[in-house]
């Protein structure tokens, strides 16, 4: 009896977790007249892809999605490469100033993004990068303290003997990093890449202040502009939202095993 209650509670939680996704998709697949009714729960019958087609071409969702793909892709590539390099220096090499510098990195993890926003905008403006892809990407592309921390902690679990053996065989620092550490660190690198991609894809604030034309507009801005303009046309803005959510759902499900484990571990040390 107690067991049944427990399963029911968990089942209810699971339903609540997926309901907004399913309801959004369901409504995006309805005909416009059916969305604007007093039956939000009714299934999409007949199914139509008209709303998707309309936001894709008429409202330039294709352009926004492409910009987001570029933005999130470039930031992710930079984050993974540069965080890994720094993590190796911090985790495996000894040099003067290492510990002080690492603490400096960690201390900045507490600084909220809004705090640095005005000066960051001014610096980017000085560099002449307002409303450019470079201005969008650059500030986030050199690796973050969070990424460095994550990879460094993982590197420290790899036995040193492997590197020592390689060094005896005459391998240099780069060879050890690329041929030994990276292959062993695939799970954490996949996790870092996925989390970075998701976070960047979902970012609103930085694109909001640094871009101002359709050419550089990312999907978060596209959706909020659509909502501002067509607030009552739920069939359109729900279709746009579904298009922004579903690709990430696919990425997440592909890497869910690593991500679930790494979230669980963030609480334990």
């Amino acid at each position: 009896m107690k067991r049944i209650a427990l399963y029911l509670a968990l089942f209810a939680g699971a339903v609540v977790s997926v309901a907004p996704y399913l309801m959004t998709l369901n409504s995006a697949l309805k005909e416009p007249a059916q969305v604007l009714t007093t039956r939000a729960w009714s299934p999409a019958l007949p199914v139509t892809f008209e709303n998707f087609a309309q936001v894709w071409s008429e409202y330039d969702m294709s352009g926004f999605l492409l910009n987001s793909l570029l933005y999130a892709g470039a930031v992710t590539a930079g984050q993974v490469v540069f965080s890994t390099m720094a993590a190796y220096a911090f985790g495996r090499m000894s040099f003067p100033g290492r510990d002080a510098l690492f603490w400096g990195y960690l201390a900045t993890m507490m600084v909220p993004q809004i705090v640095t926003l005005v000066p960051l905008f001014l610096i980017t403006r000085e560099m002449g990068l307002i409303d450019t892809y470079l201005g969008l990407i650059l500030p986030a592309a050199f690796g973050t303290p969070y990424g460095i921390f994550l990879v460094r902690q993982y590197f420290r679990t790899i036995p040193r003997d492997l590197e020592a053996a390689a060094h005896i065989d005459g391998a240099g620092t780069w060879t050890v990093l690329v041929r030994i550490m990276l292959p062993l660190s695939r799970p954490i690198l996949a996790t870092l890449a996925t989390i970075t991609f998701i976070t960047t894809w979902n970012t609103l604030l930085w694109p909001l202040i640094i871009t101002n034309s359709d050419a550089t507009r990312v999907v978060t801005l596209g959706i909020s502009a659509l909502k501002g303009q067509y607030s009552s046309q739920y069939h359109l803005i729900l279709a746009a939202s579904a298009m922004a959510l579903l690709p990430l759902l696919a990425i997440f499900l592909a890497f869910q095993r690593h991500i679930v484990r790494s979230i669980a571990l963030t609480g334990l040390k």
Partner: protein
């Protein structure tokens, strides 16, 4: 924070001593190699993070509309914000939002974690399902929630209508707008918080529960004398990170209410954005940002002091 104080910074002292006796040339080589590896991240760190942190403190002492020459005004921005009722409202709105979020989210997450902390069929799949909300785009969620809470076309009022309740105009009602925005965040982060707490629960040794059960304790007693004290590090972690996160609420407010109705959801981050990038008062916005930062530091320190009084249990 426990993440930070658990990191060992010493990479093995024996190795360090051996290195000290090595000749100079390889040591310089190692130093150069280390800084080559660090160079890109260090450049980004200094230019895009450290410089802006100092920059915001300096800017907060100036009056500057982003054009022309900035003029030094000393602490005038701080005096102005202290006397500005809109700022106080934004501070209170932000604290209200955090208080709506954190207790509900933490209690729900703890209950879910307790329910999932056993061997059961489908446990792994359930964990993945509960984390699905975490990766959703807040902007899209803002759109979806606006629709779900739409007075006429939304699911919530239609359901309420079935039981004869005439639902309010949620997002244009000053009393309801903030709870609705908070519900987005609760939905998004409960599963994530649950996962962290679940990992904490699983680290508690079974023998403790068995021994306590033999002593004839009730499950409720065991929860308060074993589970809760031993879960403290994980609880501390989620409370600190979720509180810091909640203080920075922006996206959902931007999409759902733009601070309205009548300033009821004008939170600090949104207020800073408006001052800095819509009214172009970059000095004033910087001073506000400093206040937000100070507030976050204060609350983190308070949480730290509260949790530091904990006893350390060693099971090794």
């Amino acid at each position: 924070m426990n993440v930070i104080d658990n990191i060992s910074l010493r990479g093995g002292t024996a190795r360090g001593q051996r290195r000290a006796r090595r000749p100079l040339a390889p040591r310089i080589r190692a130093l150069v190699e280390a800084y080559i590896l660090l160079a890109p991240s260090l450049a980004g760190f200094l230019l895009f993070l450290v410089a802006p942190i100092f920059g915001v403190a300096v800017l907060s002492l100036f009056d500057w509309n982003l054009m022309g020459a900035p003029s030094f005004v000393g602490l005038a921005n701080y005096r102005e914000l202290a006397a500005d009722p809109e700022v106080w409202r934004a501070v209170l709105n932000t604290i209200y939002y955090v208080l709506l979020n954190i207790p509900a989210q933490t209690v729900l997450a703890l209950l879910l974690a307790l329910a999932l902390n056993r061997r059961m069929r489908g446990g792994k799949a359930l964990r993945v399902i509960f984390v699905l909300p975490w990766m959703a785009m807040p902007v899209a969620l803002g759109v979806i929630w606006t629709w779900v809470f739409d007075p006429r076309y939304g699911a919530v009022n239609q359901l309420l209508g079935l039981v004869g309740i005439d639902g309010p105009n949620w997002l244009t009602d000053p009393a309801w707008a903030m709870p609705v925005i908070a519900s987005v965040n609760i939905w998004q982060y409960t599963g994530y918080t649950m996962l962290i707490l679940l990992a904490g629960l699983q680290a508690i040794p079974h023998q403790l529960y068995e021994a306590a059960a033999i002593d004839g304790t009730t499950p409720v007693q065991r929860f308060f004398t074993i589970t809760l004290p031993l879960l403290r590090p994980s609880l501390f972690f989620v409370l600190v990170t979720n509180t810091i996160g909640s203080f920075q609420i922006f996206d959902t407010v931007f999409v759902m209410t733009q601070g309205g109705p009548g300033g009821a959801t004008d939170v600090l981050n949104f207020h800073i954005y408006q001052q800095g990038f819509q009214l172009f008062r970059s000095g004033y916005a910087s001073a506000l940002a400093m206040v937000l930062f100070g507030l976050i530091l204060l609350i983190t320190a308070a949480q730290f002091l509260y949790f530091r009084k904990r006893t350390v249990y060693d099971f090794s």
